[in-house]
Every structure is written in structure tokens, then in C-alpha cells.
Amino acid sequence: MSADASPDPNADASADPNAGGDDRVADESSAEERGDPLLSLSGVETYYGDSHVLEGVDLDVYEGEVVALMGRNGVGKTTTLRSVLQLTPPREGSIRYRGEELVGRETHEVASRGLGWIPEDRRMFGQLTVEENVRVAVPDADDADAALELAFETFPDLRDRRGAKAGDLSGGQQQMLAIARGLVGDNDLLLVDEPSEGLAPLIVEAVAEALTEAASDTTMLLVEQNLPLALDVADRFYVLDHGTVVDEGDTDAVSADGERLRRYLSA
């Protein structure tokens, strides 16, 4: 899809013969080089009760890359992550991780295969201390001390507050703790949901820095509405609209102002 494509934000990319044409060919050729995807969603349809939220989502995430999942509020970005984790299991479609089908598995089984979740609203255990929040995320209790050291090295602010209740931390510190919890979980793929939401610009910078550092050795599927942050951290992107993927490509192919994507992101 080119930057001067149809301005209609609701336009279906597949209906536009030019939509994503060159980019997708380029993606396919690079996909061959990359081998099998780490995570692959195919025809995923997810409902909340009678509400049809994901209407056939297809996307791939390859080992070592950061993929941004973008789109306006309510288009199904968070639901996509919840579907991968089987928190909201899809009714149709397939979700494969390292070639293994995840649909039908329990959430803890999915997570223990190396998928970490850094959720939108941080989901701290507010009555537990910072240290306990990290400990609970470590699969093997013997690794807890090393995990704590990793968390505190990444976010020195947390070291000073290790005995404080997570519920008493500032929004920025809670986000750091949420990311730390994802990092110590021995995860190969992090599902990160709106890490910059509700944070002051200075904190967003720190979060972006931490995510970039984390991305150096972890694959990431990142839901983010902050376009500069998403383009900065991600290698590729998918755009969701009305529960389907309407655009995808390399972030390098998007101009710095993100004009190509902006029409899908603004309300």
C-alpha cells in the first residue's frame, strides 16, 4: 500500500488492487529467507459474547523482530493479544507458536511455552511488593535472585522500591515493573500492549529505551498507538481495522511522519 492510496479509512486493503502490492511481495521474499514464523495467526475470529471482534486476522511474527500492531481504539488489537494467550480463545482460525497449535490450550500452558504478556493496564499485583511481583513471574524459584538482579539492572528505580507495594508505585514505575516482569519470565516472545499509554513524555522515553533494549534479544509483538514510538522500536507493522489486517509492511517504508498509517490511527 502506498502513501497516496485511498483516503477512505474504512477501505478494505484487499479490495484495492494496489493495496500493499509491492510491500507484500517484498515481505514474502524476505519471509522465505527468515524461514518459519515464530508466531503465526491465520483466519483468527474472536468474539466477546455476540460481538464479533476479530474477523479473520492473519499475521506472522518472525524470530528476533519487533512487529507493531496498530489501529484505532476498538479495532481488536488487545483482543489479538488475548487470543494468542487464549485468554479470549478464538472460535475460528489457527494460532501457531513454533509450529505448535495454541488454540484449545490453557493460558498457563501457552505462557509457559515462552510467551510473556505486558498488558495494557499493567495488571500489577498491587498488594504484593515489587520484589514479589518479579518473583511470581519467574518460572523457576531457583532463578529468582538472578531475575531480580536483571530487573533492577534494567530499571534501577525499582531497586530502591523493592519492598514497596506495587500499588503504591507511580504509573511510570508500574510500567517499568510490568516490563521487568515480562523480561524475567524467560520469554522468547513478548506481547506488549500500549506500554506508553497514560505516561508522561519523559517516562515514555525511558520505556521506549527499555523496550528497544529488550528487543535486542527478544521477539516482540507490540500494540502501540504512539506512532513515533512504534516506528522507532518496530521492524514491521500490521494495521488492524474492523477486526482485520488492512495494511502491513516494513516500518522503514513508512515516512517519518507516518502519513501512510495516520489515517488508520486518527479517530
Binding site: E106, H108, F125, V136
Partner: protein
């Protein structure tokens, strides 16, 4: 019933009226007597002993509700089963000639057996009955556990009748297995307390310490506390929340069973089928006053209810000649709590669960 109350009330009022102007003086005397070290000491120790029993019967209820959001109406019946099961072990193991230490050892075995059997039963109930309806509204879980109560109570009634015992009266043989030193009073510094009350305090303190250590020092305890706040997030961190639920349900019912054995030695309670309802009501009072789902709240509420009850019992026995009232005071504490702080002393607006 109403006629007896109608008759009793004027009689009691008449006795108060007869006291007439002397009443303030009597009150002053009673207050001085109540505040004397020996009386106050006895009232406090009796209150702590009661609190120990309340903690024992309510701990499992609050753990299960805190983690799973399930109000287990079968909890009292599980306590009752523990009383009978422990009683069975005690009656079988203790002979006339068995000494005090032997009887205490038999009690230990009875507690282990009741804890193990009830934990297994609780685990079975959680996996087989409660788990399939976690995603339903709370009313389903209440109706289910209430149904379990009816079934367990009726089964116990049938079995007890089959063995020629009277289900509604206390199983006296079990009371007879108690070491004599537990029936004696122990006095120190003018304070006299029964051996049984001290035993109950020790047992209650051991339970509180045990549960506290489990919650704060073990990895499973960490999962329980985390799951009480957000079980979905816990499962997304790779923890098998269903297994944690089963373990906690089993632990809760196991403690209920152990509490039953302790109650089987107390003549004020004793092993009987109505023990199910008799323990469920105060357990609910304590759990609600403390705040649904908080163990700390349950411990504090048990102390408050126990001390208020023992104080009121003294006042109603020594100043107002109407011994039926102290039991109502427990429920008065509940009513006042619900009016002043509806979420309980340490309660939060939401607890865990699916």
C-alpha cells in the same frame, strides 16, 4: 416460642425495675468487678479462646473466597464431618486407661486424619463440582455448595443413626476421650482459665501462624496472594491457576476438618449434625466483619467477636440476668459493621476469582 419470650421479657424487666434506684450503684459495682485484673484476665483469655475457634472455622472460608470468589456454604458441613471423623479416631484410639499424653497423641492423629480426609474431599468437590461453574454468576456457586451441604448433612444423619447415635445431640463418647487436665481449671495470678481454653488458644495460634507462613513464605502462598488479586494475570505468567485453586480449596476444607476435631472436645460445641449450621453462621460473621477474603481481617475480626462475646457474656451473666442475649451480640457486631464499613475491616471492593 413467642409466648416464652413474651413471658420472659416482663420478668426480666421486672427484676431490673425492682432494682430501681440502686441500679447505677449496681452498675458501678459490676464495672469495678469487670475491670478487676482477675475478671478482666479471664474474660480476655476466654475471648481469645473463642477467637481461636472462630479463626479455625473461618480460615478456610476466607481463603477460598479470597482466591476464587466462591462462598462455600458447605464449609460448616465439612467442619461437622471433621468432628465426626476425628471423633471416630479418638473413640477408637482412646481407652479408659489411656493417659493424658496418649490422648493428646490420639488427638494429633485425629487432626491429621480429619485434615487429610477433608482436604481430599474438598479437592474432589472443587475439581468435580465447583470448577465447571466458575464462569457462572456467584449465585450458581452458592446454590451448588448449599446443595452439597444438604447432601453431606443428610448423609451424616443417616450414618450416625445407623450406628445408633442421636444426630442432633453431642457425641458424648468423644468428650470422654479428653485428657482430664483439659477439663481442669488452671489458675495463676488470680486468673482462672480452663485447660481446654488454653489448648484452643494454642491450636488457634498454631493455625494462624501456619497459614500466615504458608501465605508469606512459600511459592504457593505467593501464587495464592497474587491470584486473589488477579487470577487471569497469574495464569498469563505461566501459573496453573486451576491447580492453585484446588490446593487452596483442599487446604481450606482441611482446616475446617481440623477445626471440627477441636470442637468435638468442647462440650459447648461437640460432634453433632447441627454443628454444620452452628459453625457456618459465626464463620460467616467473622469473615464478613473482617472483610471477605482477607486472612488478616479474619484473624482481627475473630478476636473482636470473641472478646465482645466473652465480655457481653460476663455482663449478661453478672449484671443483666438474661443469658440468651450474648449470642445476639455476635450478630449485632455484624450489623454494625455492615452499616459503618460494609466491605469489612480489611475488605477491598473486589476479590479474585474467574
Amino acid at each position: 416460642m413467642s409466648a416464652s419470650i413474651a413471658l420472659a421479657a416482663p420478668a426480666s424487666m421486672a427484676s431490673l425495675a425492682a432494682a430501681g434506684p440502686a441500679l447505677p450503684l449496681q452498675f458501678a459495682d459490676a464495672l469495678i468487678e469487670f475491670l478487676s485484673p482477675s475478671t478482666l484476665g479471664e474474660v480476655i483469655l476466654r475471648g481469645i479462646a473463642e477467637a481461636s475457634l472462630y479463626v479455625m472455622i473461618a480460615a478456610g472460608l476466607t481463603l477460598v473466597f479470597g482466591l476464587m470468589g466462591v462462598l462455600n456454604f458447605a464449609h460448616g458441613s465439612l467442619t461437622m464431618l471433621g468432628a465426626y471423623l476425628g471423633g471416630l479416631v479418638l473413640v477408637a484410639a482412646v481407652a479408659q486407661s489411656t493417659g493424658g499424653v496418649g490422648r493428646l497423641l490420639a488427638f494429633g492423629v485425629a487432626v491429621v486424619v480429619a485434615f487429610g480426609a477433608l482436604a481430599a474431599l474438598g479437592g474432589g468437590i472443587e475439581v468435580g463440582l465447583v470448577r465447571p461453574i466458575y464462569d457462572r454468576p456467584p449465585l450458581y456457586q452458592i446454590l451448588l455448595t448449599f446443595g452439597v451441604t444438604l447432601v453431606l448433612d443428610e448423609l451424616a444423619r443417616i450414618v450416625v443413626l445407623f450406628y445408633g447415635l442421636q444426630p442432633t445431640t453431642v457425641w458424648q463418647d468423644v468428650l470422654g476421650t479428653k485428657p482430664t487436665f483439659l477439663a481442669d481449671s488452671i489458675g495463676a495470678a488470680g486468673v482462672s482459665v480452663s485447660g481446654l481454653e488454653l489448648f484452643q488458644i494454642l491450636f488457634g495460634v498454631a493455625t494462624v501462624v501456619g497459614v500466615h507462613l504458608f501465605l508469606t513464605r512459600t511459592r504457593y502462598g505467593l501464587f495464592v496472594r497474587a491470584g486473589s488479586e488477579d487470577s487471569e494475570m497469574l495464569s498469563a505468567l505461566g501459573v496453573d491457576v486451576n491447580r492453585v485453586f484446588t490446593v487452596v480449596f483442599a487446604l481450606g476444607t482441611g482446616i475446617a476438618g481440623a477445626a471440627g476435631v477441636l470442637l468435638a472436645w468442647d462440650p459447648a460445641w461437640g460432634a453433632s449434625v447441627p454443628l454444620a449450621a452452628e459453625t457456618l453462621l459465626p464463620a460467616f460473621v467473622v469473615v464478613i466483619v473482617g472483610g471477605l477474603g482477607t486472612f488478616r481481617g479474619t484473624v482481627v475480626a475473630a478476636l473482636i467477636v470473641g472478646l465482645v462475646d466473652s465480655s457481653m457474656t460476663w455482663w449478661f451473666q453478672n449484671f443483666v440476668d438474661f443469658t440468651g442475649l450474648p449470642e445476639m451480640v455476635v450478630f449485632l457486631v455484624l450489623v454494625i459493621t455492615l452499616i459503618v464499613k460494609p466491605q469489612g475491616l480489611y475488605g477491598v471492593s473486589e476479590v479474585g476469582g474467574h
